[in-house]
């Protein structure tokens, strides 16, 4: 069986699943839950199996042949713009498809347990399937426009799922915020595509298809747009789109709010897959980014700064999901740091390992939240390791992976990035600074993640009774389901939840061995499979990078040293966090008391939301009202004034008509009548009077005649 020929089923099956469950949900038909489960999980599992089949078939081909375009039907067919609904199946897209459908399937299974008591059960699975469809379209698309369909499609699903419990107003508002902030990125993305298209037109090859772009994009070299290179402008415009989708500075603000959605959604969409779309896009367009040193530096800088910035906010958050959200923003920063250093395969590698351990962390958090009866505040947790052992151990494994401890997944991917950034510093000293930021972020990550672990799992349990339930704090609070069946003490969750946690934890532990760094691979005789696999996609590397690899292989000792360094600082961060948050909480308390201002600033996320609100949203709303008033008063006022003038002029004309025109007519009539009246008097009816008049007339005539 040729799996490539049925690759259309990969996105189509989840779409059908979404349609079925959507129909069930909105038509009000009563069905059994297991039918929903079978449709939802079955469709995505089938996609995963087909993807595995394609992966196997690609392996049978030689590396150069592993890029296959499958065309389904023509979409646009103008003389310049040609685009098909077609899939580009290559090493990069199949990796993404495997991650999306694989992790997606696990999270579908997890949701069976998590969403069990919810009223909108089939609606939830419908949205989740729809998301998988959109995300798979995004990664499989063979041109920028079709990719944009998936790009916005995932945004729609994100909107629907963040606002899943829409009767709670903040949830609905968070969904709206996510969509609109993403749209700001899309605005830039569209412009980027347009510039790219017409720039290529000017050199004779207008196209939006990736394979053709890759072929012709080098023609743009040296083309200017004002003082800037066209390629740089395009790269930055596309990258701003990526900052929206992948939650980087300055458009990251929607992601923490997006935690209002159900926790499986946070795991799948807002951690493992959708938010990595921006990273994927840069990976897909790597040939373009490689051409612009400036654009790469900007991508790397934004990534590194975001990594540190988000990590600092993570220090002061008390909501377990918010901590993970900022950690996601921070880790996405690392991916962009990798992309911006043009080590694309390392960036994608971190994307994959991050998908494993961050999904595991979010799902673990979800398990904790269920166990704690929808409590998200870490202050009110503690000691859960005794109550929820599976959740604890899987969460711990994923946290260690995230912190970059050898030999877990995060270690390999993060160190690969940091090491390459460091070795690029020799060419461009900026990268030394970025490396420093990256390491600082890594220490921060280790610290705040173990702060989270300590507060949640260590120490002793604070029961909910100790605290008054504060609705405003709990984002998940709209999720008011009947959970009286839950025992009062926290308890491990059902099998569908724990089994998924275990699978993801195993992936978090072992996932890193796909991409052993060269220095370590030499020892065990294992090549870097991951980089090797992706190499043809990123083949258009320029010579400098080959140098980079030379350094990487030649200076093994520095690499070991850096690895040792970053692991030891991470370990230090871990122990510090555990020590502070389990043994010496008083130190933390006195510290925050001492630096109250700083703490408030960080706790409130540097007031970025408030600043945006003040700078952008309020003026916009004011402008709207102003324009509305202008529209009514000035423009419509003018129209109405015209009408009023018309009426007035009509009145004047009417008066004129009545007074002068009709008046003149009447004057003539009146004169006739008056003169008639006067003349009437001579008509007396007496023959004598007439005789006198005739006589008088005759005399006049005679006199006139004689004279």
């Amino acid at each position: 069986m040729n799996f490539i020929n049925i690759s259309y089923l990969i996105p189509l099956l989840p779409l059908i699943g979404a349609a079925i469950n959507g129909f069930v949900s909105f038509s009000g038909i009563k069905t059994r839950k297991w039918l929903t489960n079978v449709v939802a999980c079955g469709s995505i599992l089938a996609s995963f199996i087909i993807a595995c089949g394609i992966f196997y078939q690609l392996n049978l081909l030689s590396a150069e042949e592993r890029s296959i375009t499958v065309t389904w039907f023509p979409w646009f067919d103008f003389d310049l713009l040609k685009a098909n609904v077609a899939f580009l199946i290559d090493q990069l897209s199949i990796v993404m498809v495997l991650v999306v459908s694989g992790v997606g399937f696990l999270i579908h299974v997890y949701s069976i347990g998590y969403m069990a008591p919810d009223k909108g059960y089939s609606r939830f699975f419908s949205y989740l399937n729809l998301f998988c469809f959109a995300m798979l379209m995004l990664v499989l698309a063979d041109n920028l426009l079709l990719m944009f369909v998936g790009w916005e499609g995932v945004g729609l699903c994100s909107y629907l799922l963040i606002g899943f419990w829409f009767d709670h107003k903040p949830n609905a508002a968070a969904g709206m915020k996510a969509f609109i902030v993403n749209r700001i990125g899309d605005f830039s993305f569209i412009i980027g595509v347009a510039i790219l298209f017409w720039a290529l037109y000017s050199v004779g090859h207008p196209t939006v298809t990736f394979t053709e772009l890759r072929e012709h994009v080098s023609l743009l070299d040296g083309l200017k747009m004002g003082p800037y290179a066209v390629v740089t402008v395009i790269c930055i415009a596309l990258f701003i789109g990526a900052t929206g989708k992948s939650a980087q500075i300055p458009l990251y603000v929607w992601l923490p709010d997006a935690m209002a959605g159900p926790t499986p959604v946070s795991a799948l969409i807002h951690a493992a897959t959708m938010v990595t779309a921006g990273v994927y896009m840069i990976g897909r367009m790597n040939f373009l980014y490689t051409m612009s040193e400036t654009a790469l530096a900007i991508v790397a800088t934004v990534g590194a700064v975001t990594a540190v910035f988000a990590a600092t906010i993570g220090f002061a958050q008390n909501d377990i999901k918010k901590v993970l959200a900022y950690s996601t923003v921070s880790q996405l920063g690392y991916m962009f740091l990798g992309m911006g250093t043009s080590i694309y395969s390392a960036g994608i590698f971190h994307l994959v390992t991050h998908a494993f351990f961050k999904a595991c962390l979010f799902l673990g958090a979800g398990s904790v939240i269920l166990g704690m009866h929808h409590e998200q505040h870490m202050d009110r947790m503690g000691g859960l390791r005794n109550y929820m052992p599976v959740t604890f151990w899987t969460f711990l494994a994923a946290t260690l992976a995230l912190a970059g401890i050898f030999p877990l997944a995060g270690f390999f991917s993060k160190d690969e990035i940091l090491w390459q950034v460091f070795s690029r510093g020799a060419d461009n000293h900026l990268y030394y600074v970025l490396w420093g930021l990256g390491v600082a972020g890594a220490i921060g990550t280790a610290f705040y993640m173990f702060r989270c672990v300590s507060m949640t799992f260590f120490g002793k349990l604070h029961t909910a009774a100790e605290h008054e339930y504060d609705e405003a704090d709990a984002l998940d609070s709209a999720h008011k389901v009947d959970d009286h069946h839950q025992p009062l003490t926290p308890q491990e969750q059902s099998l569908s939840i724990t089994s998924v946690l275990v699978v993801l934890a195993v992936l978090s532990i072992l996932g890193g061995f796909m991409g052993l760094p060269h220095a370590l691979g030499k020892f065990v005789g294992m090549p870097n499979y991951f980089e090797h696999w992706l190499e043809p996609v990123f083949a258009s590397k320029i010579g400098r990078l080959e140098d980079g690899k030379m350094i990487a292989e030649g200076h093994g000792s520095i690499e070991y040293l850096l690895m040792l360094f970053s692991v030891s600082v991470a370990v230090a961060g871990i122990f510090a966090a555990i020590w502070f948050y389990t043994k010496r909480k008083d130190l933390i308390v006195s510290f925050t008391a001492k630096f109250r201002r700083l703490h408030t600033l960080v706790y409130n996320k540097y007031y970025i939301d408030e600043i945006y609100d003040f700078i952008f949203i309020q003026p916009l709303l004011k402008l709207n009202d102003l324009l509305k008033a202008f529209d009514q008063a000035v423009i419509d006022g003018f129209v109405n004034a015209c009408a009023a003038f018309g009426v007035f002029w009509a009145a004047v004309s009417g008066w004129w008509d009545w007074f002068f025109v009709d008046g003149a007519v009447n004057v003539v009539a009146n004169a006739t009548i008056t003169s008639g009246r006067k003349l009437r008097l001579i008509q007396t009816g007496r023959i004598q009077h007439y005789f006198y008049i005739i006589l008088f007339g005759l005399i006049v005539l005679l006199v006139w005649r004689v004279i």
Partner: protein, 385 residues
């Protein structure tokens, strides 16, 4: 009702006639024929300010008609063989006398453009539209937005473009500028509205701006986008007005602040609305995206800056559409409306075909593009120097 349907059918005659006429006189005749029933339909079956709205609509259009009439007469006298035939007039060699002089041509072009601009409506001739929409009954709003507005843009492409290609090309910049203003200004005004129907009327103004921008592009992509946008606006805005009508029939007000949580009470209605709303904000996969993307891509070639400003319309549109959805459908249930009946079969049957078209054209736009591409390429050829 006895009066309503004859007038409605007369309106249909007028509209169909306008789009099939190939003779300027006939075109003008139908243009006027459609005006009269509209006046009565709004004036008799409309809302509280129906008389004001009906007269405003009628007179405003009539101002344009007068200009069109004058230009038409000029065509008759200054063409070889004194003809009203549009196809003949497209041949520049039949133009004689003053019709070959630049300034006179400009004057004629402007007369036609303003007549059509009022109908589109182009800023600043747009204020009759919100009033007419708000006062008109639902079905008439649908016709007004879905078909009548297109007579304006159709007229521009059918008359101004092929008969005055030189003037059109010279002043294309202004078409693009007004397109941009329509898009951004309409969206900003829509965001400020408190009345559901007024909001959609302004969104209509914003969406018609895309047609102008696309028309000003002189690329096949942009022109096709513009005409497809005309069609899509017809299907999408028609749905939007039907949706307002459905809720107005139930609660008899349109105040956006007065709803809330309707998605709980009328979930199916919420789904149909979501489809129309997302189509309106240009979600890929639905037809609105195709036309907007084509317009942007096409127009960017000649007018990069105007297009860039116009693209910000997609952000503003998303903002007002989602904000509206949130205010009406999400949030806490308004206790007053707890027992509203769900969308009926009759209402579903009016929405479903439109939604289906929106989805089909979103996935397979070639179904429509193939039909019109040949004509538009022909018109476009006039501008390829």
């Amino acid at each position: 009702m006895k009066g309503y349907f004859p007038l409605f059918l007369l309106l249909q005659t007028g509209m169909t006639g306008v789009f099939v006429a190939l003779d300027f006189f006939l075109f003008y005749f139908f243009w006027e024929v459609m005006l009269l029933p509209m006046y009565f339909l709004i004036g008799i079956w409309g809302g509280p300010r129906r008389e004001y709205a009906a007269i405003k609509f009628f007179l405003y259009t009539l101002v344009g008609s007068v200009m069109m009439l004058l230009v038409m007469i000029a065509f008759y006298f200054y063409s070889e063989g004194n003809t009203f035939n549009i196809l003949t007039l497209m041949d520049q060699s039949v133009h004689i006398g003053p019709m070959t002089a630049h300034n006179f041509r400009l004057l004629c072009w402007l007369g036609l453009m303003i007549a059509f601009a009022i109908k589109v409506p182009v800023f600043p001739f747009h204020t009759w539209l919100p009033d007419a929409h708000v006062e008109a009954p639902t079905a008439i709003s649908v016709i007004l937005a879905g078909i009548l507005l297109k007579m304006g843009t159709y007229g521009m492409i059918r008359f101004c473009y092929p008969i005055f290609p030189d003037i059109t090309f010279e002043f294309a910049k202004w078409i693009a500028v007004f397109g941009m203003i329509n898009i951004v200004y309409g969206a900003l005004c829509a965001m400020a509205q408190k009345d559901f129907k007024r909001l959609i009327a302004y969104s209509s103004i914003s969406h018609m701006g895309f047609c102008l921008l696309g028309m000003a592009s002189f690329t096949n992509e942009g022109m096709n986008g513009a005409v497809l946008q005309m069609f899509n606006h017809g299907t999408i805005t028609a749905q939007l007005f039907l949706i307002v009508g459905i809720i107005y029939d139930r609660v008899h007000h349109r105040d956006l602040e007065g709803f809330g949580g309707l998605a709980h009470i009328m979930p199916r209605y919420a789904v149909w609305t979501a489809i129309a709303f997302f189509a309106a904000l240009g979600l890929p996969g639905l037809s609105g995206f195709i036309s907007e993307a084509l317009v942007f891509l096409g127009a960017f070639k000649m007018w990069p800056w105007y297009t860039a400003v116009s693209v910000s319309g997609v952000v503003l549109t998303a903002a007002y559409v989602l904000w509206t959805y949130q205010r009406v459908f999400l949030g806490k249930i308004n206790e007053k409306y707890k027992n509203l009946p769900e969308i009926s079969w009759r209402e579903t049957v009016t929405l479903a075909p439109l939604a289906l078209i929106v989805v089909i054209l979103g996935v397979y736009p070639k179904a429509m593009l193939d039909i019109m591409n040949a004509t538009l390429v022909g018109i476009n050829q006039l501008f390829v120097k």
